[in-house]
């Protein structure tokens, strides 16, 4: 009897509930665990991707390297949910949001502490890795200090 090959299911840790366990970019989750938000860059043509991809649709290369999402983005839009899909009820209320970093955009959540009055479309945000109470990992946008 051969030993069963272990399957890398790190992506199951992404988000309150993950719907994907295994992807070629599972390192994203390990980076998140280390406090880093990372995208991929095509080594052959230089295109940057967020969310990260294993494969470049521009030049069809699968030779990608990681880069860190640093600095500030701009809040494009958001919504505060009063109802949640199955599995997310305990997170309510929460805000999903989109931030624009120029070369790419990032879809995620706003940090829990932000109140409606603190949120303004166009405001500078930074993206922070976040440990959820249920042991899962995600990332959130915080208001950036622009002073």
């Amino acid at each position: 009897m051969g030993k069963k090959k272990e399957i890398d299911t790190r992506f199951a840790k992404f988000g309150t509930v993950s719907f994907t366990a295994t992807t070629r970019v599972n390192d994203f989750v390990s980076h998140l665990d280390d406090g880093r938000i990372t995208g991929t860059r095509c080594v052959d043509c230089g295109t940057r991707f967020f969310p990260p991809r294993n494969d470049c649709f521009k030049c069809l290369s699968s030779h990608v390297e990681w880069f860190d999402v640093t600095g500030t983005g701009r809040l494009v839009t958001y919504s505060r949910l009063k109802y949640a899909p199955v599995g997310f009820e305990n997170d309510l209320p929460y805000c999903i949001a989109l931030a624009d970093y120029g070369d790419f955009k990032v879809f995620g959540r706003l940090a829990d502490g932000l109140k409606d009055d603190d949120i303004e479309i166009g405001m500078a945000v930074k993206t922070r890795a976040n440990h959820l109470p249920n042991g899962q990992l995600n990332y959130v946008f915080e208001k950036a200090d622009t002073a």
């Binding site: 992506f11 992404f14 988000g15 309150t16 509930v17 993950s18 719907f19 994907t20 992807t23 967020f50 969310p51 494009v76 839009t77 958001y78 919504s79 505060r80 949910l81 009063k82 109802y83 949640a84 899909p85 199955v86 599995g87 997310f88 997170d91 929460y94 999903i96 949001a97 989109l98 790419f104 955009k105 990032v106 879809f107 995620g108 959540r109 409606d116 479309i121 166009g122 995600n138």
Partner: protein, 388 residues
């Protein structure tokens, strides 16, 4: 190449909970279209079945329906593009007929959403978006469209009152559409009153009243070639233009958050194919799964310039008597939105309008009509232009 016509349309009543199985539901829309076209089942050369399959226990419903509808041994196709499945089905039927492969094709859309709970439904609907990178944040359809609403409001000064006006218009016509699921009046006051159910927050800035009603339903559109249309049908309605486009599933890949790029591209294609422009459209059905979706449709279809959508509804230009009547059957907001059946139902409304058979909902003598049908959060855009 000859022209392609629609010679029969039908739909079931859209209801909260259909008391039967999916094949029986499909039969209702099919029967209505067959009676409308005055055809027998042997005159149908192929069927196209359209739905979002995650609601069904039945795998491969197309084969089951072909038997139940008396369409054996003709071939059947299954088409899925979320909420625009049956518009995509009509696009497939057009190409089947235009190629000469089949003369007459029945496009049957259906959805029985009531087999699962509302929160399960939201979870499944949300999975029509990016399950790897977005769903883990707890997304759902109203919240995605709410993000577009928030961006539209911030960019153009659109207000919650503007969105309420769209809901009020939908309810005006939902009340006179016997097949609509929601037939009550909705007023601006209801959407403004925090104590009212309609004003209850769902996903900011959208309220209960900004969201369409889930429904069970089926629809059917019968498509044929020019020769048979002229031989069989007194009032054929011609497919003048078809447009279809896609956009990034993840909102991170979208070029704009104040409109749907797939809708705009599909509209451009359909106008070019039909050789008409927005000003030529006499009546339209747009995909108002949320009030903001209708607002964006006004702009993406060119009925209004970007940011000018609110003016259109404030001036009542999209009412039945207005310059460009939109969703005078109650739209998804009041008529209801049984995912796979919706596009076929929208096409049915426009066909009836062009034939002058829309009853109380009839607009004044329309010659050209348009259907805008969206899948997912603008993941799929379909625009169909019809003429008499």
């Amino acid at each position: 190449m000859g022209k392609v016509a629609i010679i029969g349309v039908g739909q079931s009543a859209f209801v909260r909970q259909y008391p039967g199985s999916i094949r029986e539901l499909a039969f209702e829309g099919f029967k209505a279209a067959m009676l409308d076209a005055e055809l027998a089942t042997e005159q149908i050369d192929a069927s196209v079945i359209c739905s979002a399959p995650e609601y069904d226990k039945q795998r491969s419903p197309a084969g089951v329906f072909a038997e139940y509808l008396g369409l054996n041994p003709q071939p059947t196709f299954y088409v899925e593009s979320l909420c625009s499945s049956s518009s995509m089905g009509v696009r497939l039927a057009y190409s089947l007929v235009e190629s000469g492969l089949h003369d007459t094709v029945a496009v049957i859309g259906f959805q029985k959403m009531s087999e699962i709970t509302s929160s399960e439904s939201q979870e499944r609907m949300g999975r029509g978006a990016d399950i790897q990178w977005e769903s883990p944040f707890g997304t759902m359809m109203p919240a995605y469209y709410a993000m577009f609403a928030q961006a539209h409001m911030a960019t153009y000064g659109t207000t919650l009152e503007d969105l309420a006006l769209i809901r009020v218009k939908a309810s005006t016509y939902g009340q006179i559409n016997a097949l609509a699921v929601y037939r009550k009046a909705v007023t601006e006051e209801m959407l403004a009153d925090p104590e009212s159910f309609m004003a209850g927050p769902v996903a900011s800035p959208l309220r209960v009243g900004d969201c369409c009603a889930n429904a069970d339903g089926s629809s059917c559109v019968i498509v044929t070639n020019e020769k048979k249309a002229k031989a069989w049908c007194k009032k054929p309605v011609w497919i003048l233009g078809l447009g279809a486009a896609t956009a990034s599933v993840n909102l991170a890949g979208r070029e704009m958050l104040t409109g749907l790029s797939a809708a705009r591209r599909a509209a451009d294609q359909a106008y070019a194919m039909a050789g008409v422009g927005p000003a030529d459209i006499d009546v339209a059905e747009v995909h108002d799964c949320f009030t903001i979706a209708e607002m964006m449709a006004y702009e993406n279809l060119g009925f209004a310039a970007p940011g000018q959508g609110p003016e259109l509804i404030r001036s009542r230009a999209t009412y039945k008597e207005g310059q460009i009547p939109v969703n005078v059957d109650g739209g998804l907001l009041s008529k209801g939105h049984p995912i796979g059946a919706t596009g076929g139902s929208q096409i049915r409304t426009i066909v009836l309008q062009l034939r002058g058979e829309a009853g109380d909902m009839q607009v004044n003598d329309p010659a050209i009509g348009l259907v805008h049908n969206i899948g997912g959060v603008g993941l799929y855009g379909n625009v169909t232009i019809l003429g008499r």
